[in-house]
Amino acid sequence: MSHHHRRLHHDAPVELAREILSRLPVKALVRFLCLSKSWCGLIKASDFMKMQLKHSNRDRTIIMIANDDPRQHSLVLLSHSKGINIVGYCDGLVCVHDDERKEIEIWNPLIRRCKRLPNKPIEKPFRSAEYVKPKFGFGYDPHNEDYKVMRPVEFFDGIKPVLDF
């Protein structure tokens, strides 16, 4: 068994290579996005992300540590102003709410990217309705296979419509 330079592409279908790459940490995957156009598409595909998520929890552990450690906390989350609250976290994503700017952001610390959600005004059931300060929730919606931010709003007259972004 002394044949050198054995490489996988001699006998491996793409599926095997995909299986192997899905076991890589996020940092390596960000690097390998520039392997080629087709591999970039493959790595960004939602089913690949699901595979990767299933195989890794080291990455998620880091998120937990960041949230437990106040210094890390301030480093990653509270850089631009106070009044930013963590709405929740799920699969390594952190959802934050900027109380001052009334903005919701979903932050992926592993790829260092942030997505700002459009600010939707609260629709009142009738013009004179009053409401208490809305609360937020963040989680994964398996039905739509996407992450979701909930904003339940309680109006004074007792109606509780649930608006989601």
Partner: protein
């Protein structure tokens, strides 16, 4: 060489199955081990249906895609099969598992093991060796991985340059090829 598996307990009556590799070596392995290879299991059960295996352990199962050196390593892996391939709960456990995976040699060796495990439809082994190979390439350069998987880079040089600048942090701490 006939690779009769070393059984510490010769009086054990567990059934044996003979596997024949691409280089015509014969391996006599315990049925429990051989049945982990779904390809072998399928073959064995088909033979049973044909009433051939019923005559005893005379059946030889040919494995034309597996070399004896690779099969020997797969069988030894089976015998000390890690409890599970489940993702480690903590850092310490992960390091232990990593060390264990490192024992299975160079990327070239792993490619042989992965190809064989894939052919034999040996799920646990495939997962284990895939992870071992992933461990190996996780700190490698884009060029190394392109070469390894036979991928041709097709981004425009300026596109790639821009990407590498934007995500410079992901290109830090990469091993030498």
């Amino acid at each position: 060489m006939s690779n009769t598996s070393e059984n510490p307990n010769p009086s054990s009556s567990s059934a044996k199955i003979t596997l024949k590799t691409s280089d015509n070596e014969l391996f006599e392995v315990e049925e429990a081990v051989a049945m982990k290879f779904c390809t072998v299991k399928q073959y064995f059960e088909d033979e049973k249906d044909n009433d051939v295996a019923a005559r005893g352990s005379s059946t030889v199962i040919p494995l034309p895609n597996v070399h004896s050196a690779v099969l020997a390593r797969l069988i030894s892996y089976c015998k000390k099969l890690p409890q599970s391939n489940a993702v480690a709960d903590n850092h310490e456990e992960e390091e232990t598992k990593k060390k264990e995976r490192k024992q299975y040699g160079t990327p070239g060796d792993l490619v042989d093991l992965i190809s064989a495990a894939n052919y034999l439809d040996f799920k646990e082994g495939l997962e284990f060796f895939n992870q071992a190979l992933a461990d190996h390439i996780q700190n490698k350069s884009v060029e190394y991985v392109r070469k390894f998987f036979g991928i041709k880079g097709d981004f425009e040089p300026h596109e790639e340059e821009k990407y590498r600048e934007e995500y410079a942090w992901a290109f830090e701490g990469v091993d030498e090829d």
